[in-house]
């Protein structure tokens, strides 16, 4: 009786063999390319079939026919749509997303300015969700049916169902206007603006790198409220999922085995059950993070946070299709990237899919 051959071939014995790594990397690259082509094709077609005249959006409705024609040809709108698409892909490959009508700047520059703000907000919110939500979910599952469980469930339900803009306004009213514990809307106080050179665009990081701790604290003070509000949402979801995953794992037979071995309950929970929960949680956390990166327009609006969600929304209202297209592609790339990352982590945590 040796190791069973049923275990997907490559798993037996010596771990991952080099050729299979290569194959899986190539597989990932191929699927990535296909996803990317699909993503750009769909967004491109949508932007072209929208009843918006891109020429008119640029030249304005008082331009002469001559000017109109010139721009029309310049944009290549006389060519068939697949040629236009290929041209767009070519520009994209050079990192050119076109020029935004609204800001009169290259879309790529706009995105590099707005996206880090969202990245900062979403990352802190997700971290909050993980570091509070996961222990809360585990705690609730371990005390199932008793008061800690009820508290976590009610809080999670509230966090999940309360309208985020309302929560944001109330939080601003209490913690900014009345108590003055935190800074108000925006990313920085006006007099700190533009002091630190935006290397990464993530203020906390830039300020820390430049050794400007006043600015760091100010940025943190601005960030904490929107991140908490957004984090509540992530937290509620993560806590609920953790609780139900944990309950499921705690009823498994291997938990009884661990208890029979005489292992302390804390280790039964974290060493045995949680490792299995983690496998399922990775997907949930990845999806939560991706959806927050997409830009949470409501939070960004309430807190005047200059993020990608606001940028895309404004561009859409102004028929600024290059900006919308560029923003969508960035968000799409984020989604794909995070999915890939969680896929990789998944393989790391779960020996069954290696």
């Amino acid at each position: 009786m040796g190791l069973t051959s049923a275990s997907s071939g490559q798993t037996a014995g010596s771990g991952l063999a080099p050729p299979s790594v290569l194959v899986s990397i190539i597989g990932v690259m191929v699927s990535l390319t296909l996803t990317f082509i699909g993503l750009t094709a769909i967004t491109f077609v949508i932007s072209r079939v929208m009843p918006v005249d891109p020429v008119l959006a640029i030249v304005g409705d008082r331009a002469s026919d001559e000017v109109y024609q010139q721009v029309y040809l310049q944009l290549g709108l006389d060519k068939p749509i697949y040629i236009q698409y290929l041209r767009y892909l070519g520009q994209l490959a050079e990192g050119d997303l076109g020029t935004s009508i609204m800001t009169a700047q290259p879309v790529i520059d706009d995105i590099l300015r707005f996206f880090p703000a969202t990245l900062e907000l979403a990352t802190v919110a997700t971290l909050l969700g993980i570091f509070v939500g996961v222990p809360a979910g585990v705690f609730a599952a371990v005390h199932q049916g008793r008061w800690p469980d009820h508290i976590v469930r009610v809080v999670a339900l509230l966090g999940y169902s309360a309208p985020i803009f309302w929560l944001g306004l109330v939080a601003l009213l209490i913690f900014y206007a009345n108590l003055g514990w935190v800074a108000g809307p925006g990313r920085l106080d006006v007099f700190y603006d533009g002091i630190v050179e935006p290397k990464s665009g993530i203020l906390l990081l830039d300020a820390a790198l430049a050794d400007e701790w006043d600015i760091f604290h100010n940025a943190l003070s601005h960030l904490i409220l929107p991140a908490s509000i957004l984090g509540t949402f992530a937290l509620a979801y993560i806590a609920r999922m953790t609780r139900s995953f944990m309950l499921d794992q705690l009823s498994q037979e291997y938990i009884l085995t661990a208890r029979v071995k005489g292992i302390p309950e804390r280790q039964v929970i974290w060493r045995h059950a949680f490792r299995n929960v983690l496998v399922q949680l990775i997907t949930i956390i990845g999806l939560t993070y991706a959806s927050l990166l997409e830009g949470s327009v409501l939070t960004e609006t309430v807190f005047s946070w200059p993020g990608i969600g606001q940028y895309i929304t404004h561009s859409l209202f102004n028929n600024d299709m290059n900006a919308v297209l560029g923003g969508t592609i960035v968000v799409g790339v984020c989604f794909v990237g995070i999915n890939m990352l969680s896929d990789l982590l998944y393989r790391l945590v779960d020996p069954r899919v290696r």
């Binding site: 009786m1 040796g2 190791l3 069973t4 275990s7 798993t11 037996a12 014995g13 498994q252 037979e253 291997y254 009884l256 085995t257 661990a258 208890r259 029979v260 071995k261 005489g262 292992i263 302390p264 309950e265 060493r271 045995h272 490792r275 299995n276 496998v279 945590v349 779960d350 020996p351 069954r352």
Partner: protein, 285 residues
């Protein structure tokens, strides 16, 4: 009984509160166990598994355990706190579960799981635990112990998984092993191999064994003594060699249902249950 009993169980009850009322899974089971092999036989729902779990204090949530006496080697298990129970579990009394597919942690390597059972009861360095683990894997007749040490549960077969389970539960050298249907999830051919391994290790180390099974023949050939359970009670207690002289109608009925190679039978009888058995007096030889 060979020497002073290790485990004394007197009037053990396990009950569950359900929405439809209290269900009595075990109703007044008493027995003593020395360094011997005791078989507990019964159909599903007869309370044999619940008896095993109750001894370890691991009754499922919602369950309650009561007993007049529950003693291991002078320690009262009824009043023991969680700390004492943890010390006893694994180190003194251990349990082998039915199906290795579910009873091994899927995301921990086999070596880590076995090692952990040892480390939790012994203050020792990892290196020694690792050597003990490899030794144990070889003792349960696993070739390529080094490779299995690094493997994960999904990479081994059922029979191998069950031998790994045996290694894991034997490594702290407990005095009593409870084997809860240890071969029911295995192929018939593999069953015998696993039983042989279990038998070797029990006899070598002079442990007490509680062998829980629904298979009357298997228990009779493997154990010294047999308890027959029905409806949460022990209805018959006898030596394995004297099973053919069993007197309780349930045991007799079961024996009659077994086909025999020696005497041809046109039709196997079906066991007729008598409601009176549920309140019947115990037959003991």
């Amino acid at each position: 009984m060979t020497d002073a009993p290790l485990l004394k169980v007197e009037d053990l009850h396990v009950s569950y509160n359900t929405p439809t009322g209290v269900v009595e899974a075990v109703r007044g089971v008493s027995f003593e166990l020395g360094r011997e092999k005791l078989g507990i036989v019964g159909e599903s729902g007869s309370g044999k598994s619940q008896t095993g779990r109750a001894i370890l204090g691991l009754v499922a949530p919602g369950g309650q355990r009561r007993a007049r006496r529950l003693e291991f080697d002078g320690t009262d298990l009824l009043s023991a706190d969680e700390r004492t129970m943890r010390r006893i579990r694994g180190d003194c009394i251990s349990m082998i579960m039915q199906d290795p597919k579910y009873s091994l942690n899927p995301v921990m390597s086999i070596g880590a799981q076995i090692e952990e059972a040892f480390l939790v009861h012994r203050e020792t360095i990892r290196q020694e635990a690792r050597e003990r683990t490899l030794e144990m894997l070889r003792a349960v007749k696993i070739r390529e112990a080094e490779r299995v040490y690094k493997a994960y549960p999904h990479e081994v077969s059922g029979g191998m998984g069950q031998r790994i389970m045996i290694a894991m539960m034997m490594i702290p050298e407990p005095d009593i092993i409870i084997a809860d249907e240890p071969t029911s999830a295995l192929d018939v051919t593999v069953q015998l191999q696993v039983l042989a391994v279990l038998d070797d290790m029990i006899s070598e180390r002079g442990m007490g064994l509680i062998f829980i099974s629904h298979d009357l023949n298997l228990v009779a050939s493997f154990c010294d003594r047999i308890l027959v359970m029905y409806g949460g009670q022990v209805v018959e207690q006898c030596l394995a060699a004297e099973l053919d002289q069993a007197r309780h109608p349930y045991t007799r009925g079961l024996l009659n249902c077994l086909p025999s190679l020696d005497h041809g039978q046109d039709e196997l009888p079906v066991l007729k249950r008598d409601p009176a058995w549920l309140s019947a007096v115990k037959v003991s030889s």
